[in-house]
C-alpha cells in the first residue's frame, strides 16, 4: 500500500494523459477495461481502472509493490472477479468465470510466483494447463513432441520428462511460458518475469517476447523496473494506490519521469557520507560448505567472506542460488561440524546456535517476514521476544519481564515509525512495509555490532524501503558490520561498499562497488564467476 508513503503527493498529476489513448475507429481493441473496481477488507486494490490493449502490442503495467497490478491481472486472467466495471474482449463484453475460461478466450499468464507442481514432470505440468484431449487438447502421447517444437521455435529449451523440483528458476519460467504458448494465446500476461533472471537471461526473454509480438500476440508486461520497460514496451499504464495515474509511451519518457509517475515524486537516493574508515573484522565466513538442506535445495561450496565494522557488503544473485541456505547458516539455524567456519570477533561460532550468536553481537533479518522473521498470529510484543529476549534482557531466568518487553516493542515502533495500533497488535495485521520496518527495526534497536539481512526491502513500498535503507546506512556509519543479501541490484549499488555475487552455492570475492558494472555482475550471476573476475583483472 502506498498510503503510508511519505513521498506520495495525492495532488500530483502526471504529465501524460490519464485517459486511455484514443483509438482508431473500426478496429476494436483486443482488451478494454472500463472502471474496474476491486476491494478487499482492508484496502481498495483497484479503483476505477481503465485501460485498453491492442493486438501485437507490448503493453507495460507499471507500479510499485502494492499499487494493485497483481490484483488487476488476476481479474484479467479470471482468478478474481471485479466488484464492478466492464471488460470487453475483442469488442464483446466478457465475464470470466475462471482461469480456464480466460484460457479459452486466448488469455495466458506467467505468474511471478510460479504456479508449478514440484513433484510432477515438465510435461505433466504443461498438460494440466491445457484442455483435455476430449476438449480439443493434445493427447498425452503427443505432448512431449509439441513441447519440444514450441521450445525450439521460441528458443526456450526444455526437457519434458524432467521433474520440476530439479530445475532452476529460469527453466521453471520457461515451463510457464511454453505452457501458455501451446494454447496460442492472443494476450500473454507476464507478472514481474525478470525478477528471477540474470540480466542476460532477461535479454533472452525479451527476444522471445518481441518475436511473439511480431507474430501478433499482445503482451501485458507487469514490472516496476523502469529501464526494462523503456527497452521493451510501446505503451505503459501506470498504477499508483490502485488508480491509473498515467498512460504514456515509455520510449519517449525518461526513467526519472516514469519514476515520478509511479511513486509520485522523484526517488531520492539514500544519503551517504563519502569518506569512511573501516573498522576491524567483526564477522568472518571461512571456507563454509554445507550440503543441500532438501532435495530441492542448493549446497554451499567453500564460501569465504570478511565483514569489517563500518561497511555494508552486498550479496547479489538470482534467487535460488544458495542465498537462503547461506542465511540459514549465518543465523545458525543450520550448523555444520566446523566451529571455525563462522567467526564473530575472531571467536568460533560455527557450531553455536542463533541465541548465543545474538548475545555475541550478531543480529539477523531473514527474507520471509511473515512466518520466519515473525510469528504471524502473535502480538508485536511477543514477536520482540523472538530475537531480542536475551540481548535486551526481556526475560530473567526463564520468566518474561512484560514491562521491559512492551517498552522495547514501543521503542521499535516509535523509532522506526511502524504504523500499528500498538504492541498488542498481531503481526499479520500489519502491512508488508510496516511489518518489514518492525522486523528490521527490532534488530537494529538491539544495537548489534553485526547485522545480516536478506532482501531488506523485498515487496515493500518506496517510502518504507527508503527508510530501511537509510537505517542500514546509519547502522554501518555507527561502526557496525552489515551484510545485505538482495536480488535488487539497484539497491545493492545504492547502499553497498563492496558487492559479492552468489551463484550455484558459491560466493565470489567481494569487490568495491565503484569498480563494478551491472554487466560484470550479470555475468557473475549467470555462474561465470571466473570469467567475470578474469575480465576485470
Amino acid at each position: 500500500m502506498v498510503t503510508d508513503n511519505p513521498n506520495t503527493d495525492p495532488a500530483f498529476t502526471a504529465p501524460a494523459s490519464a485517459a486511455p489513448p484514443s483509438r482508431a475507429p473500426g478496429t476494436p481493441d483486443l482488451l478494454t477495461l472500463t472502471d474496474i473496481r476491486k476491494a478487499f477488507p482492508a484496502v481498495v486494490a483497484n479503483d476505477d481502472v481503465s485501460l485498453s490493449i491492442k493486438s501485437a502490442e507490448i503493453h507495460a503495467l507499471l507500479g510499485e509493490n502494492g499499487a494493485g497490478k497483481s490484483t488487476l491481472v488476476k481479474m484479467i486472467y479470471g482468478v478474481l472477479q471485479p466488484d464492478s466495471g466492464d471488460m470487453l474482449w475483442e469488442g464483446e463484453p466478457v465475464h470470466l468465470t475462471g482461469p480456464s475460461d480466460a484460457r479459452k478466450h486466448g488469455i495466458g499468464m506467467v505468474f511471478q510466483h510460479f504456479s508449478l507442481f514440484e513433484a510432477l514432470t515438465v510435461a505433466e505440468n504443461i498438460e494440466l494447463a491445457l484442455p483435455s484431449p476430449g476438449e480439443g487438447g493434445p493427447s498425452r502421447a503427443d505432448l512431449p513432441d509439441l513441447i519440444r517444437e514450441v521450445s525450439r521455435k521460441y528458443g526456450l529449451p526444455l526437457e519434458p520428462e524432467r521433474v520440476v523440483h530439479d530445475l532452476s528458476v529460469g527453466e521453471r519460467q520457461r515451463i510457464e511460458i511454453v505452457r501458455c504458448l501451446l494454447q496460442e494465446p492472443k494476450l500473454l500476461i507476464m507478472d514481474e518475469p525478470t525478477s528471477v533472471l540474470t540480466p542476460q537471461e532477461a535479454e533472452q526473454l525479451f527476444e522471445t517476447l518481441r518475436r511473439l509480438s511480431a507474430e501478433g500476440c499482445a503482451i501485458l508486461y507487469i514490472s516496476h523496473k523502469l529501464q526494462e520497460i523503456r527497452d521493451l514496451c510501446e505503451v505503459a499504464t501506470v498504477l499508483r494506490g490502485g488508480k491509473v495515474v498515467a498512460h504514456c509511451d515509455p520510449r519517449t519518457e525518461s526513467t526519472q519521469s516514469l519514476a515520478r509517475m509511479m511513486i509520485g515524486a522523484a526517488p531520492k537516493p539514500p544519503d551517504r557520507d563519502g569518506a569512511k574508515s573501516l573498522g576491524p573484522v567483526r564477522f568472518e565466513i571461512r571456507d563454509l560448505s554445507q550440503p543441500a538442506l532438501s532435495a530441492f535445495g542448493v549446497a554451499l561450496k567453500n564460501i569465504d567472506l570478511k565483514l569489517h565494522g563500518g561497511e555494508i557488503v552486498g550479496v547479489a544473485g538470482v534467487a535460488g542460488n544458495g542465498q537462503n541456505e547461506l542465511m540459514a547458516a549465518l543465523i545458525g539455524e543450520v550448523r555444520g561440524d566446523r566451529a571455525d567456519a563462522i567467526l564473530i570477533d575472531d571467536r568460533p561460532f560455527g557450531r553455536i546456535g542463533p541465541r548465543r550468536r545474538r548475545v555475541a553481537g550478531a543480529c539477523f533479518v531473514p527474507e520471509e517476514r511473515m512466518g520466519h522473521a515473525t510469528a504471524p498470529d502473535m502480538s508485536l510484543a511477543e514477536n520482540s521476544l523472538l530475537s531480542a529476549s536475551r540481548r535486551m534482557k526481556l526475560a530473567r531466568s526463564g520468566w518474561i519481564d512484560s514491562a521491559k518487553r512492551d517498552g522495547f516493542t514501543t521503542e521499535v515502533i516509535e523509532q522506526f515509525n511502524v504504523k500499528t495500533r500498538g504492541t498488542a497488535a498481531e503481526a499479520r495485521s500489519l502491512s508488508g512495509g510496516n511489518l518489514q520496518k518492525f522486523a528490521v527495526g527490532r534488530e537494529i534497536a538491539q544495537k548489534p555490532s553485526i547485522l545480516i539481512v536478506n532482501q531488506p526491502t523485498w515487496g515493500v513500498d518506496a517510502g518504507s524501503a527508503a527508510a530501511i535503507q537509510q537505517a542500514l546506512l546509519a547502522l554501518a556509519a555507527d561502526g557496525a558490520a552489515v551484510l545485505a543479501i538482495s536480488q535488487d541490484l539497484d539497491e545493492l549499488f545504492a547502499i553497498s561498499d563492496r558487492i559479492a555475487v552468489m551463484a550455484d552455492g558459491r560466493l565470489s570475492e567481494a569487490v568495491e562497488t565503484a569498480k563494478l558494472t551491472v554487466e560484470e555482475i550479470g555475468l557473475m550471476m549467470g555462474g561465470h564467476l571466473e570469467q567475470a573476475e578474469a575480465a576485470r583483472a
Binding site: 475462471g98 510432477l120 505433466e124
Partner: protein
C-alpha cells in the same frame, strides 16, 4: 498342507479390510488431505453393513450400505475441513470418537445376532487344485474386488488425467487453484472415495471376517491402515505388501496363541501394534524419501485468499 491353505486363506481375509481402508486413505492423502478418521469411518461401515445385512438378509446390500455409511462420515469430514476450514488432525480424531460412539449406539440391537455371511465363490474344478486352488479361485468376491480396486486406483493415479489432477492438487493447491482447478471439489471427491473404501473395509470385517457385530470391533485397524499408507510411501503397489504383511502378523499371533507356546495371549496380541511402530520407524527414518513421496500439501488448509 491343509492347514497351510487354511492359514493362507485367513491371512487373506485379515488383510483385505486393511487393503480397502489403506487404498481409500491413500487417495485421500494424495489429494493433500489427512483424514485421521479411518477408524471411525470403518466402524460405522461395519455396524451399518452388519445391520442392513441382518435386516435384508443379503450381505451384498449390507456391503453397499456400509460403503455408503463410510462415505457419509467422510462427507461430514469434508464439510468441516474443506468447507469450514477446520483443523484436519482434530477433525479426524473427532470423526473416530464420534464413529465409535455412534456405532455402539446404533449397533446395540445387533450384538449377538448372526448374519448371512458372504459366500465364497467356488469355481468348480479349479478350486480342487491342492493348496493353490482354494487360495486363487475360492475367495469371496470382495477379495477379488480389493485387488481390482487397488489396480484401478494405481492406474487412475498414474495414467489418467483425473489422477494427474489429483496429484497436482495434493502437491500445490495454490498453483492448482491459479490454473483453474477446483481444489475443494477435487479434495471432496477424494475424501468421499476414501470414506467409501473405509466403510467397505468395515463392512467386510463385520460381514465376512468375524462375521458378527461387537462394539469397538475395528480394534485399531483404521490406525494400522493409516500407517500402511506411510509404509507404502504413497505408492499403491506397496500397499498390497503392507496389508498382507499385517494380515500375516495378525493371523500368526492368533495361531501362536492357539498353539499355546506359553506366551500369554495378551502379549501375542500386542504384535500387530508393535509391528506397526517398527515399520513406521524403519520407513520414516529415511526423511528424504518421505519428503520426496509425501504429497507436499498434506494436511495444509486451503483458502483462496486473494
Amino acid at each position: 498342507m491343509e492347514s497351510l491353505t487354511l492359514i493362507t486363506l485367513s491371512v487373506i481375509t485379515a488383510a483385505t479390510p486393511l487393503l480397502f481402508a489403506a487404498t481409500g486413505e491413500l487417495v485421500t492423502e494424495k489429494s493433500g488431505v489427512l483424514n485421521l478418521g479411518v477408524e471411525g469411518m470403518m466402524i460405522m461401515g461395519a455396524v451399518t453393513g452388519f445391520g442392513v445385512g441382518v435386516i435384508t438378509g443379503n450381505p451384498f446390500v449390507g456391503v453397499l450400505a456400509g460403503t455408503a455409511a463410510g462415505a457419509a462420515m467422510a462427507g461430514l469430514f469434508a464439510f468441516l475441513t474443506l468447507g469450514l476450514l477446520a483443523n484436519q488432525v482434530a477433525t479426524g480424531l473427532a470423526l473416530t470418537i464420534f464413529g465409535i460412539g455412534l456405532s455402539a449406539l446404533v449397533g446395540k440391537g445387533f450384538v449377538g445376532v448372526t448374519v448371512n455371511a458372504m459366500q465364497r465363490i467356488e469355481i468348480p474344478i479349479l478350486t480342487d487344485i491342492p493348496v493353490l486352488g482354494p487360495i486363487l479361485f475360492g475367495q469371496d468376491p470382495l477379495v477379488y474386488f480389493s485387488f481390482i480396486l487397488l489396480g484401478a486406483t494405481a492406474f487412475v493415479i498414474r495414467k489418467t488425467r483425473v489422477g494427474l489432477i489429483l496429484r497436482a492438487v495434493g502437491d500445490n493447491h495454490d498453483a492448482a487453484h491459479a490454473i483453474g482447478y477446483s481444489v475443494v471439489l477435487v479434495r471432496s471427491l477424494a475424501v468421499l472415495f476414501g470414506g467409501a473404501c473405509c466403510g467397505l473395509a468395515g463392512a467386510y470385517l463385520s460381514l465376512v471376517y468375524t462375521p458378527l457385530w461387537a462394539e469397538n470391533m475395528t480394534a485399531g485397524r483404521g490406525w494400522i491402515a493409516l500407517a500402511l499408507v506411510v509404509f507404502a510411501t504413497w505408492r499403491p503397489g506397496r500397499l498390497i505388501l503392507g496389508a498382507y504383511l499385517f494380515g500375516g502378523i495378525t493371523i500368526l499371533q492368533l495361531h501362536a496363541q492357539g498353539a499355546g507356546w506359553g506366551v500369554p495371549s495378551q502379549i501375542m496380541s500386542m504384535l500387530p501394534y508393535i509391528a506397526t511402530i517398527v515399520v513406521l520407524v524403519v520407513i520414516s527414518g529415511d526423511k528424504a524419501k518421505i519428503r520426496l513421496n509425501a504429497p507436499a500439501a498434506l494436511g495444509k488448509i486451503f483458502h483462496p485468499a486473494r
